[in-house]
């Protein structure tokens, strides 16, 4: 079990780290998809099958497409490459900041006694999930639904209204 976990973790982290350092945006995006897949595998490993499915559907299916579209739409030519890291100073401060946060987080994790029993994998059925969602959490589901709708509308409006904005700014 632990071995599987470590494998999944290393796989995911490696993909993410490389994705963040690649110069080619398309490659970065593709590697991130791999990393998200790793997270989905982690969900499978942890026994949250439905979540793994959702992660695959949303991240691998939807968000990756949106990202790729965004990348393609915002590039003047396919050949154009962004510098991976924008200036030395920015990279160094980013690394230091990240390192500091990492140190704090690792320290916190390692020095916290976590006395939870590592029990067997217990599954949580979709039926249970559905009952939870339609029962006590129904208000939250509604809110999320509203948020998604608004986000959809917002996305459309933002992408579509930009031409008019251009005109206004020009005047």
């Amino acid at each position: 079990m632990i071995f599987a976990l470590i494998t999944i973790a290393l796989f995911t982290l490696a993909a993410a780290a490389i994705a963040m350092s690649l110069r080619n945006l398309v490659h970065s995006a593709l590697l991130l998809v791999v990393s998200w897949a790793g997270v989905a595998m982690f969900y499978l490993w942890a026994g949250a099958e439905f979540l793994a499915f959702a992660q695959a559907l949303i991240y691998l299916g939807a968000i990756s497409m949106v990202v790729l579209f965004a990348v393609l739409l915002t590039r003047r030519s396919l050949a154009e490459l962004d510098p991976a890291i924008d200036g030395k100073w920015r990279g160094v401060t980013a690394l230091y900041t990240g390192g500091a946060v990492a140190a704090v987080l690792f320290g916190a994790v390692l020095f916290t006694p976590l006395n939870f029993a590592a029990g067997p994998v217990r599954s949580f059925t979709v039926r249970q999930l559905g009952e939870q969602l339609m029962g006590p959490q129904v208000a939250a589901v509604l809110v999320v639904g509203v948020i998604l709708t608004v986000a959809l509308l917002g996305g459309v409006v933002l992408a579509a209204a930009s031409r008019r904005h251009d005109k206004e700014d020009a005047s």
């Binding site: 900041t97 990240g98 500091a100 916190a108």
Partner: protein, 675 residues
């Protein structure tokens, strides 16, 4: 028809109705408005007479009708009506004089554009005044008290397009309000101490024995009895309303109003309300008389204030040139007499003088109004003169009023009422000063009234307007004649030989006549003094009549500084303007300044402080530092702006700060030893 206490509300309600009609009729409805007002007054007069008949059946009884106004806590705020001889006599006087003045006004105000409004205000005044008289509750009395103040305000400022009238109206309202605040405070104290404001309530009222002895028995930390303190506070209201020293300054200015207003409100009725008030709460005012060892008795203060006012008013009246102002200061002086009478312990004498004064002073004012009307609103008596010929009725009636006011013996009512006051002052054993002040005022009164009559009616006309004067119409002269008759007849209600009025007011069923000889010495002295005043006046003004409007006054020639001081009304207005008025405005400016600079400054300081921290929190924005200290920050908006300097728009920066802050926070928690 029997009018008892529970019907008393009808008396003020009728004029109120007339006021409502007057307010709601369209501009054209002149005759409707005036007709309703006069009809209401006449009806109220009839009702008042009926009420008087009821009251005189048993003069000692206080008929009351009390009711709850609104619920308050476990109890209710109660108001009530009271019927006793005092109320009834006052009602009869107010309605009678009021009706006559209303009739006079139809002539006097005939050409005014706001004729309808005038009668509406007059009716409102009458309603409030009558409400004040019939009240059995200090609260109801106060309500009506304020309303007569409002009516007075409206009527003084009736010719509101004249800046002087507008200013005089405001001055009257504000000055009386100063007194009213004291009055209100007294009411609050009384209410708090006794839990009720009803005068008579079957043994629980504030003017009844239990309450009075409780209040006289309570001694405050300053040594005064509770009843003294409350009484003096209530007296403050009377000082303001009745134009007593030191709040008399508004009354002469109130003559800016139309003359019928001066006659009704500022001579006969409203200004006498203060006297009525003290007479009404007389048991309270005199409750401390049983105590020997108090620093001051409430009535002593009243007596001295009254004496000072009587003398001062008479002095100032000597040097005034405006016909209405002379009469106004004479009113101040006469009100001082009444207060003096109250103070020295004879409230019946005060009310007697109040009643007689109401008639002859209304007569004098209406006479002056008739003169002013005839002389096309010329009020300066230096420019009048010689009106004896063309205005015979006015002259005759005015002379009767003048003699009543001066106290010409035996035939005129003023003589008897003044005599009663002087007699009471003589018997007062606290001090002789009020008597001396009263006697001095007698001489002065006779003197200035002689001067007035000589200047206005004798000699030759000294202006174009006076030359063309002619007698006023019948609507104006008939009230004059009636009032003149009353000014004579009323005296016989209360001669020493047959003091019917006094007996009824005191609630004595029997009339115990005294002989004329009682106090004959004092009477003789005052007759001599009156003669002295009349003689001096005639000697100075009558024998050598004024030749032109610009000639100097004989007194002015004799002693310019004294005359100037008196003509300037002893400088009270200037004094108040320099002290109270200025302090008021200064405090106003101070408050506004405090608001703007101290509070605003504090906020501006906080803003700068916030600004400073905002700037410090931003490592690399040096321009912010300079800008920050130079910018005059506009309160919180400035703070917002300086904080917004931290808003670099650099998303990376935000994220970096966020992450580092997280690290710092965790370290703080850890190094700080957890919670």
């Amino acid at each position: 028809m029997i009018i008892s206490a529970q019907h008393l509300w009808l008396i003020p309600a009728l004029p109120l109705l007339a006021a409502g009609i007057g307010a709601l009729t369209p501009r054209g409805g002149r005759s409707l408005s005036a007709g309703a007002a006069i009809a209401a007054m006449v009806a109220a007069f009839i009702l008042s007479c009926l009420a008087l008949r009821t009251a005189l059946i048993d003069p000692a009884a206080h008929q009351t009708f009390n009711f709850a106004w609104f619920d308050l806590g476990h109890g209710a705020v109660r108001l009530g009506f009271l019927l006793d001889p005092l109320t009834a006599f006052m009602c009869v006087m107010v309605t009678f004089v009021g009706a006559l003045i209303f009739i006079f006004s139809t002539g006097y105000m005939k050409d005014d554009a706001n004729f309808k409004q005038f009668f509406c205000f007059l009716s409102l005044f009458a309603a409030a005044m009558l409400g004040l008289l019939v009240a059995n509750s200090l609260l109801l009395l106060f309500i009506c008290w304020e309303l007569v103040g409002l009516a007075s305000y409206l009527l003084i400022g009736f010719w509101f397009h004249k800046p002087s009238a507008a200013a005089a109206a405001k001055k009257a309202f504000i000055t009386t309000r100063i007194g009213d605040l004291g009055f209100l405070f007294g009411i609050l104290w009384l209410y708090d101490a006794r839990g009720t404001l009803l005068f008579f309530d079957g043994g629980h009222g504030v003017l009844e024995a239990a309450s009075l002895s409780a209040m006289a028995g309570t001694t405050l930390s300053c040594g005064l009895a509770l009843s003294t303190a409350i009484g003096l506070l209530i007296f403050c209201g009377a000082v303001g309303k009745s134009g007593q020293f030191p709040l008399h300054v508004w009354l002469p200015d109130a003559m800016e109003g139309p003359t019928p207003v001066s006659a009704l409100i500022h001579a006969a009725t409203m200004v006498a309300a203060g006297v009525f008030l003290i007479a009404r709460v007389y048991p309270l005012m005199s409750a401390d008389q049983v105590l020997a060892s108090v620093p001051v008795h409430a009535l002593t203060v009243v007596a001295f204030i009254g004496g000072i006012t009587a003398l001062m008013g008479a002095c100032i009246a000597v040097a005034q040139n405006d016909i209405k102002r002379v009469l106004a200061f004479s009113t101040v002086s006469q009100l001082g007499y009444m207060m003096l009478a109250l103070g020295v312990g004879s409230w019946v004498a005060a009310i007697f003088h109040l009643l007689t004064h109401a008639f002859f002073k209304a007569l004098l004012f209406l006479g002056a109004g008739s003169v002013i009307h005839a002389a096309h609103h010329e009020q300066d008596m230096r420019s009048l003169g010689g009106l004896r010929g063309p205005m015979k009725t006015t002259f005759a009636t005015f002379a009767i009023g003048m003699m009543a006011l001066a106290g010409v013996p035996f035939l005129f009512s003023g003589f008897w009422s003044k005599e009663a006051i002087l007699h009471a002052a003589l018997e007062w054993d606290v001090s002789i000063l009020p008597l001396i002040m009263g006697l001095a005022a007698v001489v002065l009164t006779a003197f200035y009234m002689t001067r007035l009559v000589a200047e206005v009616f004798f000699g030759k006309a000294r202006s174009h307007a006076a030359e063309h004067a002619h007698e006023s119409p019948a609507t104006m002269t008939i009230p004059l004649v009636i009032l003149a008759a009353c000014a004579i007849a009323l005296g016989f209600l209360g001669t020493p030989a047959f003091p019917w009025l006094q007996a009824k007011l005191l609630g004595e069923a029997e009339v115990h006549g005294h002989s004329l000889l009682v106090g004959a010495g004092l009477m003789g002295l005052s007759i001599v003094l009156v003669a002295l005043g009349l003689g001096a006046g005639w000697a100075i003004y009558g024998r050598k009549l004024r030749q032109s409007a610009t000639a100097k006054d004989p007194l002015e020639t004799a002693s310019p500084p004294l005359f100037a001081a008196l003509a300037a009304r002893l400088g009270f207005d200037e004094l108040y303007a320099a002290t109270v008025g200025r302090a008021n405005l200064a405090f106003g400016a101070l408050s506004a300044g405090f608001d703007r600079y101290v509070l605003g400054g504090t906020i501006s300081f906080l803003t700068r402080f916030a600004h400073f921290t905002g700037v410090v929190s931003l490592e690399n924005d040096e321009s912010g530092l300079n800008a920050g200290f130079n910018a005059t920050s506009e309160k919180l908006r400035g703070a917002g702006q300086s904080y917004s300097k931290a808003q670099t728009g650099d998303a990376h920066g935000y994220l970096r700060v966020l992450a580092l802050a997280f690290v710092v926070l965790v370290l703080l928690v850890v190094l700080g030893g957890g919670r």
